[in-house]
């Protein structure tokens, strides 16, 4: 489905991705892990054809994503690949939630827009918000609206940037279940180590040096404490129970 070959990317002088190699098979669920600023969001934007590799290649179905290459197949590509932005506010600008969810399908001339909108509104439990303006919603509600407006496209590949942050425990569980119900290729970026294993089968770990330092199953990852420390996903935590001093590693599992 996707293939990244020796991809390098920088914002100005700052190189944020160094020699990334990644191959994505159809139906695979990859979880992209890494600390703040390691380049997860950037990698997703490269895969969504919003940024372009400086060195190396990003291939989608064997076709290279370059500005000119993408222009020729933009409609097909946008229907097939969808990205949930980390800052969902940048995605929301329609007058009502209902319009917001319908925006993508209308732009891409999909069929049965109304039905789709209803279906995904129900699945995410945001039907009661349909007539409200996305601008006035709470952060978690915004996240659900943005998620609905991405899922409504029913794409072949879903790129999700921190889809679970700001969701309450019940919604978190529901969204995880929903993602498993869909049999599509997904790449989820997160720094939440405790939920990561619930989001996919394959873990890809980005280090602070912007390189992939692990690519494999979760068992292997969890056994490798040094790697997790190196990627800033664990820290040494000390606390007391009365006179007893505890010291252990634990994950960053909050936002």
């Amino acid at each position: 489905m996707f293939e990244l070959r020796e991809v390098w990317f920088s914002y100005g002088r700052e190189t944020v991705l160094k020699g990334i190699n990644l191959k994505l098979k159809e139906g695979e669920r990859v979880v992209l892990l890494g600390g703040n600023g390691c380049g997860k969001s950037t990698l997703l934007k490269l895969m969504d054809g919003l940024l372009f590799a400086e060195k190396g290649k990003v291939l989608w179905k064997g076709r290279e994503l370059t500005p000119s290459g993408l222009r020729k197949m933009e409609e097909e590509f946008r229907r097939s690949v969808a990205l949930l932005f980390q800052d969902v506010e940048v995605m929301l600008f329609n007058p009502t939630v209902e319009d917001e969810i319908a925006f993508g399908p209308r732009q891409l001339n999909l069929q049965d827009v109304e039905e789709r909108v209803k279906k995904w509104g129900n699945k995410l439990g945001i039907k009661p918000l349909f007539k409200r303006s996305p601008a006035e919603l709470s952060i978690g509600e915004k996240k659900k609206v943005a998620l609905a407006s991405v899922l409504v496209l029913e794409p072949e590949v879903l790129l999700l940037d921190e889809p679970l942050s700001n969701l309450d425990p019940r919604s978190t569980g529901e969204v995880i279940d929903l993602l498993w119900e869909l049999h599509i290729t997904t790449v989820v970026a997160t720094q939440n180590l405790s939920l990561a294993a619930e989001l996919g089968e394959r873990a890809v770990l980005l280090s602070e040096e912007h390189r992939i330092i692990y690519d494999g199953d979760f068992e292997g990852l969890f056994l490798n404490r040094d790697l997790l420390l190196q990627a800033n996903l664990l820290h040494l935590h000390r606390h007391r129970h009365g006179r007893l001093l505890h010291s252990h590693f634990h994950p960053h599992d909050w936002e």
């Binding site: 932005f85 600008f93 329609n94 007058p95 993508g104 732009q107 601008a135």
Partner: protein, 174 residues
């Protein structure tokens, strides 16, 4: 559809106003529109007009009295602005623009940008309030204003870039 027709009529009316030189017409329009416009908006408009017309005292077409010219100019601007405000209190602009998905998206985009600024400014201000002890901002207002300005500049740069990416991702440029 109804809204679109009304919108087209209204646009031609505004063009007509812009070309007209009849102060009686302007006055009539202003008085007709006045009841439909909120007081706050009226004040903002008046202040804006005063500020905008000051330079015209010095740079007016020669041979005309600056006052008469300014009055005409302001009356016309009032007539256009007030009738627009009145018109849009009846007609939903988004519905009026429904004939073009591009126009509609552009309009809601700028509206979203504006309301996001308003909210950011609100939280910025309350954050400042919660971090300063005195009730009144007093002298700390000026560095604050500077900070707000440069922050908003950066924010708009980054936001605009990401909003554009989000639009592209959702098929706006297809």
């Amino acid at each position: 559809m109804k809204e679109t027709v009304a919108f087209v009529f209204f646009l031609s009316f505004v063009f007509f106003l812009a070309l007209s030189k009849d102060w009686r017409l302007f006055l009539a329009v202003v008085f007709l529109a006045l009841p439909f416009v909120r007081l706050k908006r009226l004040f903002a408009l008046l202040i804006l007009l005063v500020v905008v017309s000051l330079p015209y005292l010095f740079f007016h077409p020669s041979g005309l009295s600056p006052w008469g010219w300014m009055l005409m100019f302001n009356l016309r601007a009032m007539a256009m602005a007030l009738s627009s405000a009145a018109f849009f209190s009846f007609v939903n602009l988004l519905k009026a623009l429904s004939f073009s998905r591009t126009l509609r998206a552009l309009f809601s985009l700028s509206y979203a940008q504006f309301s996001s600024y308003k909210r950011t400014y609100g939280s910025f201000y309350s954050a400042l309030r919660s971090r300063t002890l005195r009730k009144r901002l007093g002298r700390s207002f000026f560095p604050y204003a500077g900070a707000v300005f440069s922050y908003f500049y950066r924010l708009s740069e980054k936001r605009a870039g990401e909003m554009n990416q989000a639009l592209r991702s959702r098929g706006f440029y297809v």
